[in-house]
Symmetry: C2
């Protein structure tokens, strides 16, 4: 699988080629087997050559995430909020299904990448357009949790036979400009963040009550379970108004 080592007849490296190769390598051999050295070898290049195109491994991982998340292709979206949200979430799931490492990497990263922000912005936008208040949208996003990203935790199946950022900030003016740009690019995210954290130091969030969000989502699910139980649920394809994606 490794390329020829002759430096003459080898395509020049580029950030894009590096990221592609990294994604392919992670797909093929698992994320834990992805090392800078192994990746360089795969590209027929010395390890340090990679550092001309990515700052370090963290940035490589971010780039890989963005590549995958950027590949989310939402279907034709109807005007109703439910179809729009459902479609985007299922599209995200589809995009991530062939890259099992992606969800884990996304979670391990400290902050969202641009493509992730764009996706979230689109989902939030779908709620708002559908008449959801900022508040309800906020809670809904929390309740959806990791489902926004197109995957669910699967701790559950798996045979039990086997036992088991950014450092110091830039100058204030520059920071403000960056914020304005952010707000322009991700208007819905910004609106939502601003509503929950208007009196907070941080640029965007940390202003919401985790415990409340947790219980909100939990009770929403428990309510749903109770309804299904009462109506003697057996095995209809969708709990209520499910519609095809």
């Amino acid at each position: 699988m490794a390329q020829q080592t002759d430096p003459a007849r080898r395509a020049p490296l580029s950030r894009d080629r590096v990221l592609r190769a990294a994604v392919a390598l992670a797909d093929g051999t698992g994320i834990e087997a992805l090392s800078m050295r192994r990746l360089a070898q795969e590209l027929g290049v010395v390890p340090m050559a990679l550092y001309k195109h990515v700052a370090n491994k963290e940035e490589l991982l971010d780039g890989m995430v963005d590549a995958v998340v950027g590949g989310i292709r939402p279907p034709d979206l109807g005007p109703d909020w439910r179809g729009a949200v459902r479609g985007r979430i299922l599209a995200a799931r589809e995009a991530l299904r062939s890259h099992p490492w992606a969800s884990q990497v996304i979670r391990s990263r400290s902050g969202p990448t641009p493509a992730l922000l764009a996706h979230m912005d689109a989902v939030i936008g779908a709620f708002r357009t559908g008449g959801f208040s900022v508040d309800l949208t906020h809670h809904a996003m929390h309740a959806l949790g990791s489902r926004i990203l197109g995957f669910t935790q699967e701790v559950f199946d798996a045979p039990p036979g086997a036992a088991p950022g950014a450092a110091a900030g830039p100058p204030a003016a520059e920071q403000a400009a960056a914020f304005r740009q952010l707000a322009e690019r991700y208007p819905h995210v910004t609106e939502l963040a601003g509503a929950t954290a208007h009196d907070d130091d941080s640029v965007v969030g940390r202003g919401c009550d985790d415990q409340f969000e947790f219980e909100f989502a939990l009770d929403l699910l428990l309510d749903g379970f109770e309804r299904l139980r009462q109506q003697g649920w057996t095995s209809s394809p969708s709990p209520a108004g499910g519609r095809a994606g």
Copy 2:
């Protein structure tokens, strides 16, 4: 924080002491700073000494998870299923809140540890006792997803300023005995697994339709959102029949 190095006046190591120290270290400095070497230093001992008490780092992590999950203390549980489930889940959340690394480690492990199985068995038992069918229980567990473990994904908050086991099996007889023991210890897990995977090679699962489970949970949440939206939701503390834990 490191102990004295004099081997004479130092308490002897033990698996328990190692696990405790590991948990404390992970709590204090983060899971990524937990290395065998650092942990040994913390215990005033040479790295290889640890390997007399844990087989390797993987087993250390499993032990840490079990220590934390084993510390889940469910409150007084009423007879109603909802209170029981809710109580156990919130207790799990509470136990894991002071160990932010735990959820990540749980996910990264390949299979559930005994304490995790016990917790899931209890939750499943609460559903079944409350009159849930095996099927509905199964879907409910999937829908709860990572919430069973007492945490939610929080990709959402976090300032965007920062850019972004066991190997080859033992002989069949021994395996069967192990299975019986498993079934005895975790009856509800076993029942549920058996119902979804009766014609499957693997000991316990892999028999359920991921896509169905995903959409089931998604639609359950979307139904809930729609109801709240229609009734012009503003900010009542709980969507419906929320009760105190």
